[in-house]
């Protein structure tokens, strides 16, 4: 019987240990759910925000926007949500997890990533349909893929990709390892891999501008700070940092 008691105690300990991961006193923790493509710029903004708001700690959950929406609708605690596209922000809105209307804080456009020096001589979007060229794109289900599809429709150029990846970083990886000759990625991703990939910008990219909305999450435990973070991202410092990463103005 004592053994059983010990076992049960261990089990409950295990369960409660898994359940309560938050905590901490004194400092206020602001939890920001943000699209993976914002990793570099938001991390840079975190330091500036924290020094401007002593006693506040910003904590990030970077992931694909739709994964974040799923986490939010399933009850994940967050204060701010920044999406890489309007569709996922709309989904969050419809699920009733947002507090107020989202505002667009940045835009992103596609570019062609190729190996440094552009050995295959890719000059524009139409070149991607050339036979013998291994092209990798995002799946139409994810934002960079739907942008790709939009450009295909507007230009009438049909791509025959070797793979439809789940996110833009996977596309970038396949260009970096040399397994793909070219990949369609966002300007910001190409910028983050400068030196490892070269960029071939194409004018048709303007046909599929992707906007990044941000919103405060309903029942945020730090609603006031959350609003301040949103304003901070929308403000001058946010703008400067996002511009540095290659994002366009809203």
């Amino acid at each position: 019987m004592r053994k059983l008691g010990a076992l049960l105690a261990a089990a409950t300990l295990l369960i409660t240990a898994c359940g309560s991961s938050s905590g901490g006193t004194g400092t206020k923790t602001l939890t920001v759910f943000a699209a993976a493509s914002l990793t570099e710029s938001f991390t840079a903004l975190k330091a500036q925000f924290e020094s401007a708001h002593p006693g506040t700690q910003v904590r990030f959950n970077f992931a694909g926007s739709s994964a974040l929406v799923q986490q939010l609708t399933n009850g994940a605690r967050a204060d701010v949500f920044a999406s890489a596209d309007q569709a996922n922000m709309d989904k969050a809105g419809q699920a009733g997890v947002l507090d107020g209307a989202p505002s667009v804080f940045a835009t992103n456009v596609l570019t062609i990533a190729v190996a440094p020096g552009n050995p295959k001589g890719v000059a524009g979007f139409a070149d991607l349909a050339t036979r013998g060229l291994t092209v990798v794109v995002c799946a139409p289900q994810v934002p960079c893929g739907s942008a790709t599809q939009k450009v295909e429709q507007k230009t009438g150029v049909t791509l025959r990709p070797a793979s439809e990846e789940q996110d833009v970083k996977q596309v970038l990886n396949k260009v970096q390892t040399g397994d793909a000759d070219a990949g369609l990625v966002y300007v910001t991703d190409a910028a983050s891999a400068a030196g490892k990939v070269a960029r071939v910008d194409f004018p048709e990219a303007a046909q599929a501008v992707n906007s990044y909305p941000i919103a405060v999450v309903k029942n945020a435990s730090e609603a006031g700070r959350a609003k301040e973070w949103v304003d901070f991202v929308l403000g001058q410092q946010g703008r400067a940092e996002l511009q540095k990463a290659g994002f366009g103005a809203p």
Binding site: S66, A162, S163, T177, G178
Partner: protein, 258 residues
């Protein structure tokens, strides 16, 4: 059996059963058939079954000799070798995929050689899916076989050879028949593992409908837009896995029971 064991056993069972039950509860089961019978999911299911079958075959062709070598040879360093063989069991699948890419990718040394000499590109092909599945599934087969080989049989082999049988005859007439029951369960395990393979496939083979997008990859892709349809596909995968294990496993177990 001490009754106290029931408590952790029930917890363990709950850990496996409850999540699947949760999936079922949240699913609108009436919508499932409609969601599954799309061209994309049927294509993914077929690709999954075909590639898993081929990779199971590859596991058998390559894994049986490997298990015999590991269990029977007395080469120094065989213990290290065994650890290496089991590596795919512990490696995160994404790491396995990267490793394959660095070997067989266009800039990997074998991939480069293949490209230059034969013009063959492995990533992004169905063959890449099979290689990834074989990579992660083979340890399951080798472990089952090696256990069976170690737990008995060496005596029969020795007697056969003292009676004048050549090594190849001993392998064919004594070792292989002894292995059959373990081979059955090992093959089922490998097939099930290959069916569920995700990380190595998406990293090494990519994801393209009809070519490399197997059922697990289709679930992941679908989850980006429609969770309900992703769950429906996941249920399909679960049903297929349970059928495979239920149909094939008892026979394998009966075999080991002698």
């Amino acid at each position: 059996m001490p009754w106290v064991l029931w408590v952790p056993a029930a917890l363990a069972l709950a850990l496996v059963v409850l999540p699947v039950a949760g999936l079922l509860v949240r699913t609108d089961l009436r919508r499932v058939p409609g969601l599954i019978v799309s061209d994309a999911s049927l294509t993914a299911l077929r690709l999954s079954l075909e590639t898993a079958a081929v990779s199971t075959l590859a596991c058998i062709v390559l894994g049986v000799p490997l298990a015999v070598v590991l269990a029977r040879s007395a080469v120094p360093g065989i213990r290290v070798l065994r650890a290496v063989v089991l590596l795919p069991l512990v490696l995160p699948p994404v790491v396995g995929g990267l490793a394959l890419l660095y070997l067989l990718g266009r800039k990997g040394f074998l991939g480069y050689l293949l490209g230059v000499t034969a013009g063959v590109q492995v990533p992004f092909t169905t063959a890449a899916v099979i290689i990834a599945q074989t990579f992660v599934a083979m340890p399951f087969l080798v472990v089952s076989l090696e256990g069976a080989l170690r737990s008995g049989g060496e005596r029969y082999e020795r007697i056969a050879s003292t009676l004048g049988a050549r090594p190849w005859t001993v392998f064919r007439r004594v070792t292989l028949p002894l292995l059959l029951p373990a081979l059955g369960s090992g093959a089922v395990l490998s097939f099930a593992r290959a069916l569920g393979e995700f990380g190595a496939t998406i990293t090494f083979a990519g994801s393209l409908e009809g070519v490399t997008r197997t059922l697990p990859l289709a679930v992941y892709t679908e989850a980006e837009v429609d969770v309900d349809s992703a769950v429906a596909l996941a249920l399909l995968l679960i049903v297929v896995a349970i059928v495979v294990i239920a149909v094939a496993r008892p026979r394998a177990l009966e075999g080991t029971a002698r």
